[in-house]
Protein backbone atom coordinates (compact mmCIF):
# COMPACT_ATOMS: atom_id res chain seq x y z
CA UNK A 1 0.00 0.00 0.00
CA UNK A 2 2.78 2.39 0.98
CA UNK A 3 4.63 1.99 -2.29
CA UNK A 4 1.38 2.34 -4.21
CA UNK A 5 0.81 5.67 -2.46
CA UNK A 6 4.39 6.69 -3.10
CA UNK A 7 3.95 5.81 -6.74
CA UNK A 8 0.79 7.88 -6.95
CA UNK A 9 2.41 10.95 -5.38
CA UNK A 10 5.38 10.76 -7.70
CA UNK A 11 3.00 10.40 -10.63
CA UNK A 12 1.12 13.55 -9.62
CA UNK A 13 4.36 15.44 -9.00
CA UNK A 14 5.84 14.45 -12.36
CA UNK A 15 2.68 15.48 -14.15
CA UNK A 16 2.72 18.80 -12.31
CA UNK A 17 6.34 19.30 -13.37
CA UNK A 18 5.42 18.67 -17.00
CA UNK A 19 2.53 21.13 -16.82
CA UNK A 20 4.73 23.72 -15.13
CA UNK A 21 7.27 23.37 -17.94
CA UNK A 22 4.52 23.82 -20.51
CA UNK A 23 3.68 27.09 -18.80
CA UNK A 24 7.34 28.18 -18.83
CA UNK A 25 7.52 27.47 -22.56
CA UNK A 26 4.14 28.89 -23.52
CA UNK A 27 3.82 31.94 -21.22
CA UNK A 28 6.34 34.13 -23.10
CA UNK A 29 4.72 33.17 -26.41
CA UNK A 30 1.21 33.89 -25.14
CA UNK A 31 2.42 37.25 -23.78
CA UNK A 32 3.92 38.09 -27.20
CA UNK A 33 0.71 37.10 -29.00
CA UNK A 34 -1.54 39.05 -26.63
CA UNK A 35 0.56 42.19 -26.94
CA UNK A 36 0.74 41.89 -30.71
CA UNK A 37 -3.04 42.37 -30.67
CA UNK A 38 -3.02 45.59 -28.62
CA UNK A 39 -2.39 49.25 -29.33
CA UNK A 40 0.96 50.68 -28.22
CA UNK A 41 -0.51 52.84 -25.40
CA UNK A 42 -2.27 49.74 -24.09
CA UNK A 43 1.01 47.81 -24.11
CA UNK A 44 2.82 50.58 -22.26
CA UNK A 45 0.06 50.91 -19.67
CA UNK A 46 -0.06 47.25 -18.68
CA UNK A 47 1.58 44.54 -20.74
CA UNK A 48 -0.10 41.78 -18.72
CA UNK A 49 -3.70 42.80 -19.46
CA UNK A 50 -5.88 41.37 -22.20
CA UNK A 51 -6.35 43.57 -25.27
CA UNK A 52 -9.48 45.75 -25.09
CA UNK A 53 -10.17 45.16 -28.74
CA UNK A 54 -8.32 42.46 -30.68
CA UNK A 55 -6.36 44.47 -33.19
CA UNK A 56 -5.66 42.05 -35.99
CA UNK A 57 -4.86 45.03 -38.19
CA UNK A 58 -1.39 45.07 -36.54
CA UNK A 59 -0.72 41.95 -38.56
CA UNK A 60 -1.99 43.52 -41.77
CA UNK A 61 0.16 46.57 -41.06
CA UNK A 62 3.30 44.50 -40.42
CA UNK A 63 2.70 42.56 -43.62
CA UNK A 64 2.16 45.68 -45.73
CA UNK A 65 5.10 47.56 -44.18
CA UNK A 66 7.53 45.27 -45.94
CA UNK A 67 7.25 41.90 -44.32
CA UNK A 68 5.58 40.54 -47.47
CA UNK A 69 8.76 41.33 -49.38
CA UNK A 70 11.10 39.62 -46.89
CA UNK A 71 8.69 36.71 -46.80
CA UNK A 72 8.71 36.43 -50.59
CA UNK A 73 12.51 36.60 -50.66
CA UNK A 74 12.73 33.84 -48.07
CA UNK A 75 10.34 31.65 -50.04
CA UNK A 76 12.42 32.17 -53.17
CA UNK A 77 15.80 31.60 -51.51
CA UNK A 78 14.55 28.58 -49.56
CA UNK A 79 12.90 26.94 -52.57
CA UNK A 80 15.88 27.32 -54.88
CA UNK A 81 18.40 26.29 -52.20
CA UNK A 82 16.33 23.34 -51.07
CA UNK A 83 15.81 21.97 -54.60
CA UNK A 84 19.50 22.31 -55.41
CA UNK A 85 20.56 20.75 -52.11
CA UNK A 86 18.30 17.74 -52.67
CA UNK A 87 19.23 17.25 -56.33
CA UNK A 88 23.00 17.67 -55.96
CA UNK A 89 23.16 15.62 -52.75
CA UNK A 90 21.10 12.75 -54.12
CA UNK A 91 23.22 12.66 -57.30
CA UNK A 92 26.36 12.63 -55.19
CA UNK A 93 25.07 9.92 -52.88
CA UNK A 94 23.91 7.89 -55.90
CA UNK A 95 27.34 8.15 -57.53
CA UNK A 96 28.99 7.17 -54.28
CA UNK A 97 26.88 4.14 -53.50
CA UNK A 98 25.70 2.42 -56.69
CA UNK A 99 28.74 2.18 -58.96
CA UNK A 100 31.77 1.01 -56.97
CA UNK A 101 33.66 3.84 -58.67
CA UNK A 102 37.37 4.27 -58.03
CA UNK A 103 38.07 7.11 -55.61
CA UNK A 104 34.53 7.12 -54.23
CA UNK A 105 35.95 6.54 -50.77
CA UNK A 106 38.13 9.63 -50.93
CA UNK A 107 35.29 11.73 -52.33
CA UNK A 108 33.06 10.58 -49.49
CA UNK A 109 35.65 11.54 -46.88
CA UNK A 110 36.09 14.98 -48.47
CA UNK A 111 32.35 15.63 -48.58
CA UNK A 112 31.78 14.30 -45.08
CA UNK A 113 34.66 16.40 -43.78
CA UNK A 114 32.69 19.46 -44.87
CA UNK A 115 30.35 18.79 -41.95
CA UNK A 116 33.08 19.76 -39.53
CA UNK A 117 33.65 23.18 -41.11
CA UNK A 118 31.50 25.95 -39.73
CA UNK A 119 30.07 28.98 -41.50
CA UNK A 120 31.92 31.48 -39.29
CA UNK A 121 35.28 30.20 -40.43
CA UNK A 122 34.43 30.69 -44.11
CA UNK A 123 32.68 34.04 -43.65
CA UNK A 124 35.43 36.54 -44.52
CA UNK A 125 36.94 34.70 -47.53
CA UNK A 126 33.45 33.96 -48.87
CA UNK A 127 32.62 37.65 -48.63
CA UNK A 128 35.71 38.48 -50.72
CA UNK A 129 34.99 35.66 -53.17
CA UNK A 130 31.39 36.69 -53.71
CA UNK A 131 32.51 40.27 -54.30
CA UNK A 132 35.08 39.28 -56.91
CA UNK A 133 32.55 36.96 -58.58
CA UNK A 134 30.24 39.95 -58.80
CA UNK A 135 27.36 38.22 -57.04
CA UNK A 136 27.67 39.90 -53.64
CA UNK A 137 24.30 41.38 -52.66
CA UNK A 138 22.29 39.17 -55.04
CA UNK A 139 20.13 36.13 -54.20
CA UNK A 140 22.97 33.91 -55.39
CA UNK A 141 25.25 35.30 -52.65
CA UNK A 142 23.33 33.31 -50.05
CA UNK A 143 21.95 30.51 -52.22
CA UNK A 144 25.38 29.18 -53.30
CA UNK A 145 26.87 29.03 -49.77
CA UNK A 146 23.63 27.50 -48.41
CA UNK A 147 23.79 24.72 -50.99
CA UNK A 148 27.49 24.08 -50.43
CA UNK A 149 27.22 24.03 -46.64
CA UNK A 150 24.19 21.71 -46.58
CA UNK A 151 25.42 19.13 -49.12
CA UNK A 152 27.77 17.25 -46.74
CA UNK A 153 25.15 16.49 -44.13
CA UNK A 154 22.44 15.70 -46.69
CA UNK A 155 24.78 13.35 -48.58
CA UNK A 156 25.61 11.68 -45.29
CA UNK A 157 21.91 10.94 -44.63
CA UNK A 158 21.07 9.91 -48.20
CA UNK A 159 24.12 7.69 -48.59
CA UNK A 160 23.19 5.45 -45.68
CA UNK A 161 19.63 5.21 -47.02
CA UNK A 162 20.76 4.37 -50.57
CA UNK A 163 23.09 1.69 -49.23
CA UNK A 164 20.08 -0.10 -47.77
CA UNK A 165 18.34 -0.41 -51.17
CA UNK A 166 18.83 -3.96 -52.55
CA UNK A 167 20.93 -4.25 -55.73
CA UNK A 168 18.49 -6.78 -57.27
CA UNK A 169 16.03 -3.99 -58.08
CA UNK A 170 18.59 -2.30 -60.27
CA UNK A 171 19.67 -5.52 -61.90
CA UNK A 172 16.12 -6.14 -63.05
CA UNK A 173 15.98 -2.61 -64.43
CA UNK A 174 19.23 -3.07 -66.34
CA UNK A 175 17.74 -6.15 -67.98
CA UNK A 176 14.84 -3.90 -69.02
CA UNK A 177 17.38 -1.63 -70.70
CA UNK A 178 17.26 1.30 -68.27
CA UNK A 179 20.27 3.61 -68.25
CA UNK A 180 21.73 4.87 -64.98
CA UNK A 181 19.68 8.07 -64.94
CA UNK A 182 16.42 6.17 -65.57
CA UNK A 183 17.31 3.85 -62.69
CA UNK A 184 17.91 6.87 -60.47
CA UNK A 185 14.67 8.58 -61.45
CA UNK A 186 12.35 5.57 -61.62
CA UNK A 187 13.73 3.30 -58.89
CA UNK A 188 16.01 5.05 -56.40
CA UNK A 189 14.04 8.29 -55.97
CA UNK A 190 10.60 6.70 -55.48
CA UNK A 191 11.96 4.23 -52.91
CA UNK A 192 13.81 6.99 -51.07
CA UNK A 193 10.86 9.33 -50.54
CA UNK A 194 11.09 9.17 -46.71
CA UNK A 195 14.73 10.26 -46.65
CA UNK A 196 14.00 13.03 -49.16
CA UNK A 197 11.23 14.29 -46.87
CA UNK A 198 13.46 14.20 -43.79
CA UNK A 199 16.28 15.98 -45.60
CA UNK A 200 13.87 18.58 -46.97
CA UNK A 201 12.57 19.42 -43.52
CA UNK A 202 15.92 19.55 -41.75
CA UNK A 203 17.38 21.74 -44.49
CA UNK A 204 14.34 23.99 -44.68
CA UNK A 205 14.69 24.66 -40.96
CA UNK A 206 18.27 25.74 -41.61
CA UNK A 207 17.72 27.82 -44.74
CA UNK A 208 14.56 29.61 -43.58
CA UNK A 209 16.18 30.71 -40.32
CA UNK A 210 19.79 31.29 -41.41
CA UNK A 211 21.15 34.62 -40.22
CA UNK A 212 24.96 34.89 -40.42
CA UNK A 213 25.41 34.66 -44.21
CA UNK A 214 22.21 36.54 -44.96
CA UNK A 215 23.27 39.38 -42.67
CA UNK A 216 26.64 39.82 -44.35
CA UNK A 217 25.90 38.94 -47.98
CA UNK A 218 22.53 40.67 -48.49
CA UNK A 219 22.73 44.42 -48.14
CA UNK A 220 19.88 45.57 -50.34
CA UNK A 221 16.58 45.69 -48.45
CA UNK A 222 14.73 44.53 -51.55
CA UNK A 223 16.36 41.08 -51.47
CA UNK A 224 16.81 40.46 -47.73
CA UNK A 225 15.34 37.31 -46.19
CA UNK A 226 13.04 37.14 -43.18
CA UNK A 227 15.61 36.91 -40.34
CA UNK A 228 17.39 40.04 -41.60
CA UNK A 229 14.07 41.63 -42.40
CA UNK A 230 13.04 41.25 -38.77
CA UNK A 231 16.16 43.05 -37.54
CA UNK A 232 15.64 45.86 -40.09
CA UNK A 233 11.95 45.94 -39.25
CA UNK A 234 12.67 46.42 -35.56
CA UNK A 235 15.10 49.21 -36.35
CA UNK A 236 12.61 50.97 -38.63
CA UNK A 237 9.69 50.66 -36.24
CA UNK A 238 11.61 51.61 -33.07
CA UNK A 239 8.64 52.52 -30.85
CA UNK A 240 5.90 50.68 -32.70
CA UNK A 241 6.25 47.61 -30.49
CA UNK A 242 2.96 45.92 -31.31
CA UNK A 243 3.53 45.88 -35.08
CA UNK A 244 7.03 44.45 -34.56
CA UNK A 245 5.57 41.71 -32.36
CA UNK A 246 2.98 40.89 -35.01
CA UNK A 247 5.81 40.66 -37.57
CA UNK A 248 7.75 38.24 -35.36
CA UNK A 249 4.75 35.95 -35.17
CA UNK A 250 4.08 36.02 -38.90
CA UNK A 251 7.74 35.12 -39.53
CA UNK A 252 7.64 32.19 -37.11
CA UNK A 253 4.36 30.64 -38.19
CA UNK A 254 5.30 28.78 -41.41
CA UNK A 255 7.68 26.32 -39.78
CA UNK A 256 5.46 25.80 -36.72
CA UNK A 257 2.48 25.03 -38.97
CA UNK A 258 4.62 22.74 -41.11
CA UNK A 259 5.78 20.97 -37.95
CA UNK A 260 2.28 20.29 -36.69
CA UNK A 261 1.22 19.05 -40.14
CA UNK A 262 4.12 16.64 -40.51
CA UNK A 263 5.36 16.13 -36.97
CA UNK A 264 6.07 12.42 -37.53
CA UNK A 265 8.27 13.08 -40.57
CA UNK A 266 9.85 15.96 -38.74
CA UNK A 267 10.80 13.82 -35.77
CA UNK A 268 12.24 11.17 -38.05
CA UNK A 269 14.24 13.80 -39.91
CA UNK A 270 15.57 15.18 -36.66
CA UNK A 271 16.53 11.77 -35.36
CA UNK A 272 18.58 11.26 -38.45
CA UNK A 273 19.75 14.84 -38.01
CA UNK A 274 20.94 14.20 -34.48
CA UNK A 275 24.07 12.73 -35.95
CA UNK A 276 25.03 16.29 -36.66
CA UNK A 277 22.25 18.80 -36.12
Amino acid sequence: MKTMNGHKTSKVLLNLLCILLCIVILAPLVWIILNSLKTNPELFKNSLSLPKAWRFDNYAKAWKLGLYRYFGNSVLVSTVSLCAILILSSFLAYGLTRFKAKGAGIIFVIVLGGMALSEQVALVPLYKMLKSLGIYDTYLAVILPYIAFRIPFTVFLMRSYFLSIPVELEEAAIVDGYNSFQIFRKIIVPISKPIFASCAIVNLNFVWNEFLFANVFLNNKAIQTIPIGLMTFKGDLRTDYTTTLAGLIIASLPLIILFFCMSKQFVRGLTAGAVKG
Binding site: A101, M129, A148, V155, N179, F211, S252, I256
Partner: protein
Protein backbone atom coordinates in the same frame (compact mmCIF):
# COMPACT_ATOMS: atom_id res chain seq x y z
CA UNK B 1 26.25 -1.82 -63.24
CA UNK B 2 27.53 -1.66 -66.80
CA UNK B 3 28.10 1.97 -67.63
CA UNK B 4 30.92 3.97 -69.09
CA UNK B 5 33.64 4.66 -66.55
CA UNK B 6 33.11 8.39 -66.28
CA UNK B 7 29.37 8.15 -65.57
CA UNK B 8 29.53 7.88 -61.74
CA UNK B 9 31.81 10.93 -61.63
CA UNK B 10 29.23 12.95 -63.58
CA UNK B 11 26.83 12.35 -60.70
CA UNK B 12 29.38 13.21 -58.04
CA UNK B 13 31.08 16.17 -59.65
CA UNK B 14 28.54 19.01 -59.30
CA UNK B 15 28.03 18.49 -55.57
CA UNK B 16 31.71 17.91 -54.93
CA UNK B 17 32.65 21.09 -56.79
CA UNK B 18 30.15 23.11 -54.76
CA UNK B 19 31.57 21.81 -51.49
CA UNK B 20 35.17 22.37 -52.57
CA UNK B 21 34.64 25.87 -53.88
CA UNK B 22 32.31 27.31 -51.24
CA UNK B 23 33.33 25.38 -48.13
CA UNK B 24 36.91 24.11 -48.38
CA UNK B 25 38.51 26.92 -50.36
CA UNK B 26 37.18 29.71 -48.09
CA UNK B 27 38.16 27.81 -44.95
CA UNK B 28 41.73 27.34 -46.20
CA UNK B 29 41.85 30.93 -47.46
CA UNK B 30 40.85 31.98 -43.96
CA UNK B 31 43.89 30.26 -42.51
CA UNK B 32 46.02 32.14 -45.04
CA UNK B 33 44.33 35.48 -44.25
CA UNK B 34 45.20 35.07 -40.59
CA UNK B 35 48.87 35.89 -41.36
CA UNK B 36 48.08 39.11 -43.24
CA UNK B 37 46.86 42.59 -42.48
CA UNK B 38 43.85 42.94 -44.76
CA UNK B 39 41.07 45.38 -45.46
CA UNK B 40 37.94 44.79 -47.47
CA UNK B 41 38.28 48.03 -49.44
CA UNK B 42 41.87 47.79 -50.59
CA UNK B 43 43.34 44.91 -52.53
CA UNK B 44 46.74 45.08 -50.83
CA UNK B 45 47.74 42.71 -48.06
CA UNK B 46 50.79 42.96 -45.83
CA UNK B 47 52.30 39.82 -44.37
CA UNK B 48 52.46 40.21 -40.60
CA UNK B 49 53.38 36.69 -39.49
CA UNK B 50 51.84 35.84 -36.14
CA UNK B 51 51.05 39.43 -35.24
CA UNK B 52 47.29 38.93 -35.69
CA UNK B 53 47.47 35.97 -33.32
CA UNK B 54 49.37 38.04 -30.77
CA UNK B 55 46.76 40.79 -31.02
CA UNK B 56 43.91 38.28 -30.73
CA UNK B 57 45.20 36.52 -27.63
CA UNK B 58 46.09 39.78 -25.89
CA UNK B 59 42.86 41.59 -26.83
CA UNK B 60 40.91 42.70 -23.77
CA UNK B 61 37.86 40.95 -25.21
CA UNK B 62 39.60 37.56 -25.36
CA UNK B 63 39.15 36.53 -21.70
CA UNK B 64 35.57 37.88 -21.79
CA UNK B 65 34.76 35.75 -24.84
CA UNK B 66 36.33 32.66 -23.34
CA UNK B 67 34.27 33.18 -20.21
CA UNK B 68 31.03 33.81 -22.12
CA UNK B 69 31.38 30.97 -24.64
CA UNK B 70 32.52 28.72 -21.80
CA UNK B 71 29.61 29.66 -19.55
CA UNK B 72 27.17 29.15 -22.41
CA UNK B 73 28.74 25.75 -23.07
CA UNK B 74 28.67 24.53 -19.45
CA UNK B 75 25.18 25.79 -18.64
CA UNK B 76 23.82 24.35 -21.91
CA UNK B 77 25.37 20.98 -21.10
CA UNK B 78 23.76 20.97 -17.65
CA UNK B 79 20.33 22.27 -18.67
CA UNK B 80 19.81 21.10 -22.27
CA UNK B 81 21.63 17.79 -22.13
CA UNK B 82 21.34 16.98 -18.41
CA UNK B 83 17.88 18.24 -17.65
CA UNK B 84 16.69 17.53 -21.22
CA UNK B 85 17.60 13.86 -20.72
CA UNK B 86 15.80 13.71 -17.37
CA UNK B 87 12.81 15.34 -19.03
CA UNK B 88 12.88 12.71 -21.78
CA UNK B 89 12.99 9.97 -19.15
CA UNK B 90 9.98 11.50 -17.41
CA UNK B 91 8.02 11.84 -20.66
CA UNK B 92 8.80 8.24 -21.62
CA UNK B 93 8.04 6.90 -18.12
CA UNK B 94 4.77 5.24 -17.18
CA UNK B 95 3.86 8.25 -15.02
CA UNK B 96 2.79 10.26 -18.02
CA UNK B 97 -0.34 9.05 -19.79
CA UNK B 98 0.34 7.85 -23.35
CA UNK B 99 -2.18 10.26 -24.82
CA UNK B 100 -0.45 13.43 -23.58
CA UNK B 101 3.16 12.32 -24.08
CA UNK B 102 3.23 13.55 -27.65
CA UNK B 103 1.61 16.83 -26.67
CA UNK B 104 4.24 17.59 -24.02
CA UNK B 105 7.01 16.63 -26.39
CA UNK B 106 5.70 18.86 -29.16
CA UNK B 107 5.18 21.84 -26.88
CA UNK B 108 8.70 21.61 -25.45
CA UNK B 109 10.09 21.22 -28.94
CA UNK B 110 8.21 24.13 -30.54
CA UNK B 111 10.60 26.99 -29.57
CA UNK B 112 13.42 25.39 -31.56
CA UNK B 113 11.44 25.98 -34.76
CA UNK B 114 11.39 29.74 -34.29
CA UNK B 115 14.33 31.49 -35.89
CA UNK B 116 17.15 32.59 -33.60
CA UNK B 117 16.54 36.20 -34.61
CA UNK B 118 12.83 36.05 -33.83
CA UNK B 119 13.55 34.49 -30.43
CA UNK B 120 16.23 37.10 -29.76
CA UNK B 121 13.86 39.93 -30.60
CA UNK B 122 11.00 38.38 -28.62
CA UNK B 123 13.25 38.16 -25.56
CA UNK B 124 14.44 41.75 -25.89
CA UNK B 125 10.76 42.57 -25.35
CA UNK B 126 10.39 40.07 -22.54
CA UNK B 127 13.50 41.47 -20.80
CA UNK B 128 12.55 45.11 -21.54
CA UNK B 129 12.90 47.01 -18.25
CA UNK B 130 9.83 49.21 -18.86
CA UNK B 131 7.16 47.11 -20.52
CA UNK B 132 8.74 43.64 -20.49
CA UNK B 133 7.01 40.47 -19.36
CA UNK B 134 9.49 39.71 -16.56
CA UNK B 135 9.38 43.11 -14.90
CA UNK B 136 5.60 43.25 -15.31
CA UNK B 137 5.37 39.91 -13.48
CA UNK B 138 7.73 41.11 -10.74
CA UNK B 139 5.76 44.34 -10.42
CA UNK B 140 2.52 42.40 -10.11
CA UNK B 141 4.13 40.52 -7.19
CA UNK B 142 5.36 43.84 -5.72
CA UNK B 143 9.00 42.94 -6.30
CA UNK B 144 11.61 45.32 -7.73
CA UNK B 145 12.39 44.93 -11.44
CA UNK B 146 15.82 44.52 -13.02
CA UNK B 147 17.54 45.97 -16.07
CA UNK B 148 18.16 42.40 -17.39
CA UNK B 149 19.97 42.79 -20.73
CA UNK B 150 21.00 46.29 -19.68
CA UNK B 151 22.88 45.05 -16.63
CA UNK B 152 26.41 43.98 -17.55
CA UNK B 153 26.55 41.54 -14.62
CA UNK B 154 23.58 39.46 -15.67
CA UNK B 155 23.12 40.16 -19.40
CA UNK B 156 25.03 37.06 -20.53
CA UNK B 157 22.95 34.89 -18.19
CA UNK B 158 19.78 36.36 -19.70
CA UNK B 159 20.99 35.34 -23.16
CA UNK B 160 21.98 31.88 -21.93
CA UNK B 161 18.59 31.45 -20.25
CA UNK B 162 16.86 32.32 -23.52
CA UNK B 163 18.78 29.57 -25.32
CA UNK B 164 17.87 27.04 -22.64
CA UNK B 165 14.23 28.00 -23.14
CA UNK B 166 14.62 27.48 -26.88
CA UNK B 167 16.65 24.26 -27.07
CA UNK B 168 16.04 22.08 -24.00
CA UNK B 169 12.95 20.61 -25.67
CA UNK B 170 14.95 19.87 -28.81
CA UNK B 171 17.45 17.71 -26.92
CA UNK B 172 14.61 16.18 -24.89
CA UNK B 173 12.90 15.11 -28.12
CA UNK B 174 16.09 13.55 -29.51
CA UNK B 175 16.57 11.67 -26.24
CA UNK B 176 12.91 10.53 -26.24
CA UNK B 177 13.46 8.91 -29.63
CA UNK B 178 16.65 7.26 -28.38
CA UNK B 179 14.84 5.85 -25.34
CA UNK B 180 12.01 4.57 -27.51
CA UNK B 181 14.55 2.58 -29.49
CA UNK B 182 15.65 0.65 -26.40
CA UNK B 183 13.90 -2.74 -26.59
CA UNK B 184 11.09 -2.89 -24.04
CA UNK B 185 12.07 -6.37 -22.84
CA UNK B 186 15.17 -4.92 -21.19
CA UNK B 187 13.12 -2.63 -18.96
CA UNK B 188 10.50 -5.27 -18.33
CA UNK B 189 13.10 -7.82 -17.24
CA UNK B 190 14.60 -5.29 -14.85
CA UNK B 191 11.15 -4.44 -13.47
CA UNK B 192 10.55 -8.12 -12.72
CA UNK B 193 13.89 -8.17 -10.87
CA UNK B 194 12.44 -5.43 -8.69
CA UNK B 195 14.24 -2.41 -10.14
CA UNK B 196 12.34 0.86 -9.58
CA UNK B 197 11.89 3.44 -12.35
CA UNK B 198 14.97 5.44 -11.32
CA UNK B 199 17.18 2.39 -11.21
CA UNK B 200 15.82 1.20 -14.58
CA UNK B 201 16.66 4.59 -16.10
CA UNK B 202 20.19 4.66 -14.71
CA UNK B 203 21.12 1.04 -15.31
CA UNK B 204 19.31 0.33 -18.59
CA UNK B 205 17.92 3.28 -20.53
CA UNK B 206 20.84 5.69 -20.19
CA UNK B 207 23.58 3.15 -21.00
CA UNK B 208 21.56 1.98 -24.02
CA UNK B 209 21.17 5.56 -25.29
CA UNK B 210 24.77 6.46 -24.45
CA UNK B 211 25.76 7.13 -28.04
CA UNK B 212 22.90 9.54 -28.66
CA UNK B 213 23.68 11.26 -25.37
CA UNK B 214 27.29 11.82 -26.42
CA UNK B 215 26.22 13.11 -29.81
CA UNK B 216 23.79 15.54 -28.16
CA UNK B 217 26.59 16.75 -25.87
CA UNK B 218 28.92 17.36 -28.78
CA UNK B 219 26.27 19.22 -30.82
CA UNK B 220 25.68 21.41 -27.78
CA UNK B 221 29.36 22.16 -27.23
CA UNK B 222 29.97 22.95 -30.92
CA UNK B 223 26.89 25.19 -30.90
CA UNK B 224 28.30 27.08 -27.92
CA UNK B 225 31.42 28.04 -29.86
CA UNK B 226 29.47 29.09 -32.97
CA UNK B 227 27.26 31.40 -30.89
CA UNK B 228 26.46 34.58 -32.83
CA UNK B 229 22.85 35.33 -33.71
CA UNK B 230 21.55 35.11 -30.13
CA UNK B 231 23.94 37.86 -29.00
CA UNK B 232 23.66 39.95 -32.18
CA UNK B 233 19.87 40.15 -31.93
CA UNK B 234 19.72 40.95 -28.19
CA UNK B 235 22.66 42.95 -26.81
CA UNK B 236 25.03 43.23 -29.76
CA UNK B 237 27.82 42.34 -27.33
CA UNK B 238 26.98 45.05 -24.77
CA UNK B 239 26.62 46.59 -22.30
CA UNK B 240 30.29 47.48 -22.72
CA UNK B 241 31.93 44.26 -23.83
CA UNK B 242 30.13 42.13 -21.27
CA UNK B 243 28.32 39.75 -23.65
CA UNK B 244 31.03 39.52 -26.31
CA UNK B 245 31.42 36.05 -27.88
CA UNK B 246 33.80 34.63 -30.52
CA UNK B 247 31.28 34.56 -33.39
CA UNK B 248 30.16 38.15 -32.88
CA UNK B 249 33.75 39.36 -32.37
CA UNK B 250 34.68 37.82 -35.73
CA UNK B 251 31.80 39.62 -37.44
CA UNK B 252 32.57 42.96 -35.80
CA UNK B 253 36.30 42.81 -36.56
CA UNK B 254 35.56 42.09 -40.21
CA UNK B 255 32.60 44.33 -40.94
CA UNK B 256 32.71 47.12 -38.37
CA UNK B 257 36.46 47.56 -37.78
CA UNK B 258 37.55 46.36 -41.24
CA UNK B 259 40.26 44.22 -39.64
CA UNK B 260 39.95 41.07 -41.73
CA UNK B 261 43.19 39.57 -40.39
CA UNK B 262 41.90 39.67 -36.83
CA UNK B 263 38.58 38.19 -37.97
CA UNK B 264 40.48 35.41 -39.72
CA UNK B 265 42.39 34.55 -36.53
CA UNK B 266 39.12 34.36 -34.64
CA UNK B 267 37.91 32.05 -37.40
CA UNK B 268 40.97 29.83 -37.04
CA UNK B 269 40.35 29.64 -33.28
CA UNK B 270 36.71 28.56 -33.83
CA UNK B 271 37.91 26.18 -36.58
CA UNK B 272 40.37 24.38 -34.29
CA UNK B 273 37.78 23.91 -31.54
CA UNK B 274 34.92 22.77 -33.79
CA UNK B 275 37.02 20.46 -35.96
CA UNK B 276 38.51 18.77 -32.90
CA UNK B 277 35.03 18.23 -31.50
CA UNK B 278 33.67 16.97 -34.83
CA UNK B 279 36.44 14.40 -35.11
CA UNK B 280 35.56 13.26 -31.60
CA UNK B 281 31.90 13.01 -32.66
CA UNK B 282 32.78 11.00 -35.74
CA UNK B 283 34.76 8.59 -33.58
CA UNK B 284 31.82 8.24 -31.21
CA UNK B 285 29.25 7.58 -33.94
CA UNK B 286 31.53 5.12 -35.72
CA UNK B 287 32.45 3.22 -32.57
CA UNK B 288 28.74 2.59 -31.98
CA UNK B 289 28.34 0.92 -35.35
CA UNK B 290 30.41 -2.16 -34.80
Amino acid sequence: MKTRKYVPYLYMLPGLLMVLSFVYIPVFMNIGYSFFRLSSYSAGAAFVGLDNYRRFFTDEAFPVMLKNNGLYCIISLIVQVGFGTILALIIESTSIAKKIKGMYRNIYFMPSLISLVAVGLMFTFIYDPNVGFLNALLKAMHLPGKAWLGDSNIAIYCIIAMSQWQFTGYIALLMCVAFQNVPEEYSEAAAIDGAGPVKRAVSILIPQAKEQLLVCSIITVIGAFKLYTEVYSTTGGGPGNSTQVLGLFLYQQAFLHDDLGMAAVTGVFIFVITVALSVLQLKVTNSGKD
